[in-house]
Amino acid sequence: MNPDDLEKHLRSQPMRQVPPQWRADILSAARQASPSEHAPRTTHHVPRSPSLFSTLLWPHPTAWAGLAAIWLLILGFNLATGPSVPLLAKRASPTAPQVLMAFQEQERLLSELLGPRETPVAERPKPAQPRPRSELRRRLLMA
């Protein structure tokens, strides 16, 4: 037996045909799985009249969204940095009347402890000026 002849004879043997009834089912399954089948059907879509909102955004809703984002950033930055500056300034320097009252209270306490003292000729008290803390302490210690 010539090996080539057998090989040729094998090659000539017809394979079974795919059952014709499979075609419709398989293609139907394939169409249902197709991505275009899941897209919204424009034929059934009834266009609505454009709303005022969409009219205002047209034709560049992306640009409007970007602008809104920038404004939000600016607002956030202001909120984050704005109030702390005057608040810090407020805390750092108490008002002058408060300092005067605190100083007068300390004078009264010292006079109670040390007793009466000769007071110089009364001078018209000058309005209290905010002094550096070190100066105030020195005066208190000297009193």
């Binding site: 057998l6 094998l10 043997q13 017809p14 394979m15 795919v18 398989i26 293609l27 169409r31």
Partner: protein, 170 residues
């Protein structure tokens, strides 16, 4: 963006070749049908798979082979014995009117079922798809020498099995 997939054209051009390969490989008609459907559904879901493909037939056969391998692995060894029994009786060839030729085709179908699946795949692609060993190696993802040796071993077994019948009809 890939062009819309012409599923009907692909089916009409390649379904026969895919059916024959899958039937010979799986030896199971129901599995063949499921795999054929799974293949076209996969193509429909991902039409970009065919982008840039030069040889559609080879690509689809490779896809079919991979799907069949996945099915066999999912089945495991439990059903392998059932498939071996079923494979002995399944007809992968067209029945012949002439009795001697009919007997030969029946014997050939049985002999193909007795081959290991990897040899059977190579023999089918070489004899009935007319592919070269290079194409078979690329399709099955095996070395060229492996493809050639599997074909040689498979053909030798068929020759040994079919010699008496072939000598009668020659």
């Amino acid at each position: 963006m890939s062009a819309p997939l012409d599923v009907e054209r692909l089916y009409d051009e390649h379904a026969q070749a895919l059916f024959a390969f899958l039937l010979n490989f799986t030896r199971h008609e129901a599995d063949t049908r499921d795999l054929l459907q799974e293949l076209f559904v996969k193509l429909a879901k991902r039409p970009e798979l065919l982008d840039g493909v030069r040889d559609e037939r080879a690509f689809l056969l490779r896809l079919a082979h991979n799907l069949a391998i996945d099915l066999i692995r999912r089945r495991g060894t439990r059903e392998k014995h059932y498939e071996q029994l079923a494979g002995d009786t399944i007809a992968v060839l067209v029945p012949a009117d002439e009795p001697d030729e009919g007997a030969f085709r029946k014997a050939l179908s049985t002999a193909l079922g007795e081959l290991p699946p990897d040899q059977r795949a190579v023999v089918h692609l070489k004899l009935w798809e007319g592919l070269t060993f290079e194409q078979i190696a690329e399709l099955l993802g095996i070395p060229l020498n492996t493809a050639a040796s599997r074909y040689r071993y498979g053909l030798d077994k068929l020759r040994e099995r079919l010699r008496p019948l072939y000598d009668e009809i020659k």
